[in-house]
Every structure is written in structure tokens, then in C-alpha cells.
Symmetry: C2
Subunit: 318 residues, 2 copies
């Protein structure tokens, strides 16, 4: 169903074909699998950078500036903007109209927004599948941009080679709650809008938190870089910090090990998703629904119903 012509155009970085390939991957169906299997041998060359942080920290502007920098080095760039909408309400896509006029016309830049639509696991799967398409197509850098307010930044950290957490002076205290999570995933902190009051204090507070974490001599200590993305200040320092982290990963084969761990999580998710889909067939959903009243009234234990469903599923393979 996926013809060689299509694959060839993909490998020649034809943006329309890349876009169509990602649309196929977003469906997650049989054709998506076929496509992903047929491009696997071309993956592994792109460098993947995750960019996360609280809303309003300037992630999009920074992503654009980094993209322009990479383009000046003659590197091609693909951006995946992940929109972690509430699992309940849905929500708007990250605004990327400004971005489109600024860098979207460049043939060496590919931009795609992906919404979660309530499926957290699904976000991770589709994003990583899309990254493989972009990797195989030949983009040198893949930038994942996501708001760090929940699960999505963890998913991104499991996909990215370097994860960059963007903060602003004001976010120092207010993101106390999410800070622990961001601390764990950050390979690099960017204190954006660093001309605002409190920037230096925020950096000191961040440094203190970082020093308090347990780490041995061989583990990576995230660097903290100042920037003012809107005036293109500090971009060189960010690039330098990314390069330092990349050098650290390439030394001692850490990048390979990191990617192996990420692949492991990914394969497990693929396996579990398929099993789960088979498990919750229409017939078993109905059977479950019909038992619920009895469970709530205490006539049957949830564990009793669970055992029946499991036995029914397994009997399909007898």
C-alpha cells in the first residue's frame, strides 16, 4: 500500500510527502505500521531536542531562534509542537501562525502541530512515530515543543536526546509544584526574559535546587543559560550548552544507551496498546457494562468480573 515512489519522495525531503506521511502515522493503523517498518533503516541520524516549560515562558520564540541558527549552519530542522490539551475539555492548538510566516516558508524547515486529544499515551506514540518519519526523511534536527504541565513533558523527555526547560524569572516560585518534575528531565535550563527583575535570584534559587539533588560525579549537571529570545540574545549560549550536552552523550556511548531505553519504553507501549485494543473488544465492553450495577450493589466483586474477562480474552487464542 505504501509505494516506493512515496518513500523516495520522503527521503528527498519533499515537504508535502513528509506531511502526508505524518498524517498516515497519526492514524496509527496498519498502513502506519507498514510505513514505519519501511523507513526504520533510515532512522537514528537526527538529533532530537525537547523544549518545555510553563506557559508564556517564550518556548515558541526560542524554538524559532534556534531554528534560524541551525538553518544558518545549513542544517535542516523539523518542529513538532505538542499541544497537551486537558484530557477533559479539549483545547486550542499552540499558536503557530507567527511562526509560519517567519520560518515556515523555508524549504529546509518543517513544522507540525500535534494535539493530544485526551490520549496521553497516544500523544507519546504518535509524536515519536512522527519523529521517526522526520528522522528518516533526513532532517538534521527535530525540535519538540510542549507546555510542561503534566505528562507531556515526560513523554518528550523520553523522546529527546537533549531536553531544555525554559523558565522566566517569575516562574521561579509559582511552578514550585511542577519544578520537581522539570528538574528531573532537564539537561539544560534556559532563563528566558532574563532582563526582567529577579532573573539573577531565580537562577541562584535554581542552582541551589540543582546542587541539593543527589548526583554522582559521572552524572550530568544541567547548565543554566540566560536568554532574551525576542531580541535574539543568548541563543549562541544555548547552542553551546546543547553542543556540550551532545558531546557528553556521545562520549562513553551514553546516547546509544539512552536511545535504547527510550526504544524499550516505546516498544512496550506499542505492544500494550495493541493488546489493550484487542482486549476491549465490543463484546467484552458490553459484558463489562452489564456487570457494573451488580458490582456497585456489592453482589459481585470487581475481581470476580476481572477474572471472567481475562479468561474470555485468553480463550480466543486456544
Amino acid at each position: 500500500m505504501i509505494d516506493q515512489n512515496f518513500i523516495d519522495r520522503l527521503f528527498s525531503l519533499d515537504k508535502r510527502t513528509v506531511s502526508r506521511a505524518i498524517t498516515i502515522v497519526e492514524t496509527g493503523d496498519e498502513r502506519s505500521r507498514e510505513l514505519l517498518k519501511s523507513i526504520a533503516h533510515r532512522t537514528g541520524n537526527a538529533y532530537r531536542i525537547g523544549i518545555t516549560g510553563p506557559p508564556g515562558a517564550g518556548k515558541s520564540t526560542l524554538t524559532n531562534q534556534l531554528t534560524k541558527y541551525f538553518r544558518k549552519q545549513n542544517k535542516t530542522v523539523a518542529i513538532i509542537a505538542v499541544d497537551p490539551t486537558s484530557p477533559f475539555t479539549g483545547g486550542a492548538l499552540l499558536g503557530d501562525r507567527v511562526r509560519m510566516t517567519e520560518i515556515g516558508m523555508d524549504p529546509g524547515v518543517f513544522i507540525r502541530s500535534m494535539a493530544t486529544r485526551g490520549s496521553l499515551g497516544g500523544l507519546s506514540k504518535r509524536t515519536i512515530d512522527a519523529a521517526d518519519i522526520l528522522d528518516a526523511a533526513g532532517y538534521d534536527y527535530i525540535l519538540f515543543e510542549t507546555v510542561g504541565v503534566g505528562q507531556s513533558e515526560l513523554d518528550i523527555a523520553r523522546t529527546a536526546d537533549t531536553t531544555m526547560v525554559v523558565l522566566v524569572p517569575e516562574s521561579g516560585d509559582s511552578i514550585q509544584a511542577m519544578k520537581a518534575g522539570l528538574m528531573e528531565i532537564a539537561d539544560l535550563f534556559v532563563m528566558n526574559k532574563s532582563d526582567r527583575p529577579g532573573a539573577d535570584n531565580a537562577i541562584i534559587s535554581l542552582q541551589t535546587s540543582l546542587m541539593m539533588r543527589s548526583h554522582d560525579e559521572t552524572s550530568w549537571l544541567p547548565s543554566i543559560v540566560k536568554s532574551i529570545a525576542t531580541s535574539n540574545t543568548g541563543i549562541d549560549s544555548i547552542i553551546q550548552a546543547i553542543n556540550n550536552h551532545q558531546a557528553y552523550l556521545l562520549n562513553q556511548n551514553i546516547l546509544q544507551k539512552k536511545r535504547e531505553l527510550n526504544s524499550k519504553i516505546r516498544i512496550k507501549e506499542i505492544v500494550e496498546t495493541q493488546i489493550r485494543e484487542e482486549l476491549w473488544s465490543r463484546a467484552r465492553e458490553v459484558s463489562l457494562n452489564n456487570s457494573l450495577e451488580k458490582v456497585v450493589l456489592g453482589h459481585l466483586s470487581p475481581y470476580h468480573i476481572a477474572e471472567e474477562l481475562i479468561n474470555n480474552y485468553k480463550s480466543e487464542f486456544e
Copy 2:
């Protein structure tokens, strides 16, 4: 293995037996299933209240005050303090030493802390299993207390009949990011420490957010109640708001429907957890680990490996 004597002592609200039963349930093994199946017929009578909110909002103090109130009405109370430690770092248990001296000696009050230890799904499962034990034992109220900073408050909302979100005036803006999630699960907001500056503004801001949400005439509009837990101010209003919500649920059988939905999620989780455990046998873990290098180097597609693992699992039931 579970003898009738043990069950009898459990049903007579013997605190030591209740405690041992929860310890059994925490292991999640075969004995835990046996116990839960043998007490199912006594569940469904306790009223379950979730208490969540940002760190420092005063959840523990409020929980204690509510407990004292219920005790004065001659109702028995069980408290489950859920500790959502970071999935990466582990962490300390919620402090409940103060609580123990205040209400822990009361024979009509049972208190238990449960840590997540990194397993988010597992938290939900063990907490709900424990709640069933407490329900069957005969406690009138079960209070779940958890910090609202991620997944744990969603788990609690799926377990509780009434979910109470505790805020303080200062948390108004700073929890912007998590607010959307808390908005969705709250049946009742408590603005604690309401003698602090900004309390009224925070309430107006909250009301505005609530009104902006789409809702039809029949859906529940969360009430907002002021309190100063440390001086026992506003507890009556909170109780009134809980009673109002309970009356709403009991009218038109909404409580039954809500519990059926929660049971459905719970049974699915039980089924999926067991299947997952069987799926990731030692042998298949090793097989997966051995394939990772080839995947990262692009020699094999993750989807190829996933298919092999699935076929291997299913062949066990042939």
C-alpha cells in the same frame, strides 16, 4: 487462607484487623484478591470524600476538622492520606504525626498513609482496594487526602463520591497550570486561610473561571466555601456543601451511575495490570532487551519487535 474469624473481626471495626487487611491489600497478591472477593457484599455503604489541592493549602487540618465534626455526629471515619511522590525521586510520607495525637487515638477513627512509590496506576488500585476494606469494615466516611499536583488527584476523583479542592488566596494565580485539571474534578472548592489578603479576589476569579466553563442546566455547579481550618471556621459550611452535593447525587440515581463508571475504570485497570504482568515475563523482557541495540541502529523497526513479542505472548494460550 483468609479465615472467617479474621473477616468477622474486620466487620466489627477492629482497628488492628482493619490495618492488617489493608496491608494484605497493599501487596496486591492472590491473598489480597481472595480477601477483596470475600468482603465485596459488604461494600457500598461508606460515603467517600476526596480532599485535594496544592501543597500547604491546609488539607490535613481540614481533614482533621471534618473528622472531628463527623465523630460528633457519631459517624466513624477512615482517612487515607495518599502521598504522590515523584516517580523519579521517591519522597517522604505526608506528615501525620500531629494528626495521630489529635484524632488517631479515637477508636472510631482509622488513619492510613499510602505512598505511590512510582506506580501511578498502582496508587489508584491500592487506594481503591483499601477503601473497599474500610467500606466493608463499616466506616461511615472515607476521606482521601492527596496533594493535587499530577495524576493522584484524578485517581482520587475517580474514587470519591464528592471531591473537594482546597485552595488558599495565594494559590489563585500560581496554580494556573494545574487549575484546569482541578476545575474539572472539583465538586466543591474550599478557599482556606480566607482571612488572608486577596481571598475575595481569588474567589471572584475562581467564580469567573467556573462560569466560563460550558455546562448545561442539569450539571452540577461547584460551590465555593470559605474557611480558616486552624480556627475551625467554616467547617459547618463545608459540611453543608458536602451534604448538598450528596443530595444532588442521590437524586436521580447519579451516585449509582457515578460509582458504576468508577467501577468500570477500576475493573479495566485490574484486568490490564494482570495482563501486563503476564506479558512482561522475564523471558520476554530479556528478548526485548536483546533487540534494543538493533532497533536504535535502525536494523529493526520497533513495530517488528512489538509484533514478535505479541505473537510470543499469545502462543502461550494455544
